[in-house]
């Protein structure tokens, strides 16, 4: 826990220096976070060279926008992950739609892609809270929400994957989100 808290404040301090135009600080941020963010981009894009492009874009964005990082509102790593996911998803949407031709996963396959808990990027209590709240959802709702976040897929693709109508998928996710929000706010 202490290590995570220390890590978090170090990263926040480095981001503040980046905002002041300190290149060496960007290097520190890169060293500490690039493997995680590259993993995030790869997972969404499923293509190494695209993921590399997006990664570059991500850190250039960090360089320019570090000043808008607000430690009171976000932890440094979730802020960075959000930038990486947004860039990767935008890239995915802009490339030929549904270019990815993976086999459609069944609900079971999605679930088998087991949470590995490889490293803690977010404070443990927050992690715990998310897990608890997900546990309160219908299983299929939490499954698709997790899958959407990790893979950056659209409603349509999710509906195909799970072999349900689009309207059903929207309804699952929205109900899941509503319930999740109430729980996460507690």
């Amino acid at each position: 826990m202490d290590a995570i808290a220390a890590n978090r404040s170090q990263l926040a301090a480095a981001l503040a220096r980046v905002a002041a135009g300190d290149r060496a600080a960007l290097r520190i941020v890169y060293q500490d976070t690039s493997a995680k963010l590259f993993g995030v981009c790869l997972r969404i894009l499923n293509d190494r060279s695209e993921a590399e492009d997006v990664l570059q874009d991500v850190y250039v964005t960090v360089w320019r926008k570090a000043g808008s990082f607000d430690p009171a509102r976000a932890s440094p790593i979730t802020w960075l992950v959000a930038i990486a996911r947004n860039r990767a998803i935008d890239r995915l949407r802009s490339s030929a739609a549904s270019r990815r031709s993976e086999p459609i996963e069944s609900a079971e396959d999605v679930r088998d892609d087991a949470p590995a808990a490889l490293d803690l990027v977010v404070a443990a209590e927050q992690q715990e809270r998310l897990k608890t709240c997900l546990g309160e959802l219908e299983e299929r709702h939490s499954t698709v929400i997790r899958s959407a976040f990790l893979d950056g897929v659209t409603y349509e693709q999710l509906a195909q994957r799970m072999d349900v109508p689009l309207g059903t998928m929207k309804s699952w996710i929205r109900r899941g989100l509503m319930k999740l929000r109430t729980c996460l706010e507690r």
């Binding site: 570059q56 490889l118 992690q127 309804s171 929205r174």
Partner: protein
């Protein structure tokens, strides 16, 4: 509510739209509409931040993958000149710092740099009208840079002597003639590398003979005020060839 409820996008209101955006389930046009709202509506931006922070825990499941070493170099290069890309990326000669040091020596070097800039313009731009040239002199009169601008706004600026920025950024400015004489930034340049810049279309009309180019030293990342610092290291007038 039935399972196949085809509800519209606003069901659940902003918190849910924000959640959908963060999850990434929206298509391209919906995403860009939401992205615009984030810029405009602070309350909505807070909703998005809520989800980003709370759902961020999912990322713990993603296996870290070390990016290739070249990735950092690319980032470093990109932030060195955010508004400009190094020119001549494909030419070994152009990338060779040693070559540029030789170019920097004396008047014959300057001539070489001019020719180089022109040759470069010639390779990228279709026959343009006569390009404008500027030699940007340093204090003491020594040439610091040579620049050439084609009529379409493609500009190349070449260091003509050894210059150091000492942790500062070098920024290039266009100083129009006459009443419009407020300096306009053309972006950051590199002290030891030729740089190609496309002059923004709104500034192209100001690229005229007698307008000037200037290079200033700025805090890293470039001027934040939109105007050059007092530390102008080189300046020169554009002239017809």
């Amino acid at each position: 509510m039935s399972e196949t409820d085809h509800s519209d996008a606003t069901e659940g209101g902003d918190p849910i739209v924000a959640g959908e955006y963060v999850l990434g389930v929206l298509d391209a046009s919906e995403r860009s509409a939401v992205a615009q709202r984030i810029e405009r509506e602070p309350a909505f931006a807070n909703e998005v931040a809520f989800w980003e922070e709370r759902l961020g825990g999912f990322a713990d499941e993603v296996k870290p993958v070390t990016p290739p070493d070249a990735a950092w170099s690319r980032i470093e290069a990109a932030i060195a000149a955010p508004a400009a890309r190094p020119a001549f990326a494909l030419g070994n000669l152009w990338q060779n710092l040693f070559f540029w040091r030789i170019v920097g020596i004396g008047a014959s070097g300057l001539a070489t740099a001019c020719l180089a800039a022109l040759a470069y313009l010639g390779t990228v731009a279709a026959p343009e009208r006569t390009p404008l040239l500027a030699t940007l002199g340093q204090q003491g009169g020594q040439p610091g840079f040579v620049a050439a601008i084609g009529s379409g706004g493609s500009l190349v600026i070449v260091p003509a002597s050894l210059l150091t920025a000492n942790q500062k950024s070098m920024e290039l400015w266009l100083i129009p003639t006459g009443a419009q004489a407020r300096p306009r930034s053309l972006g950051l340049i590199a002290p030891s590398q030729p740089v190609r810049i496309t002059v923004p279309p709104n500034l192209v009309p100001f690229v005229t003979p007698e307008a000037s180019l200037a290079v200033s030293l700025e805090e890293p990342g470039g001027s934040r005020t939109g105007a050059p610092s007092n530390d102008i290291i080189a300046v020169g007038k554009l002239t017809n060839l």
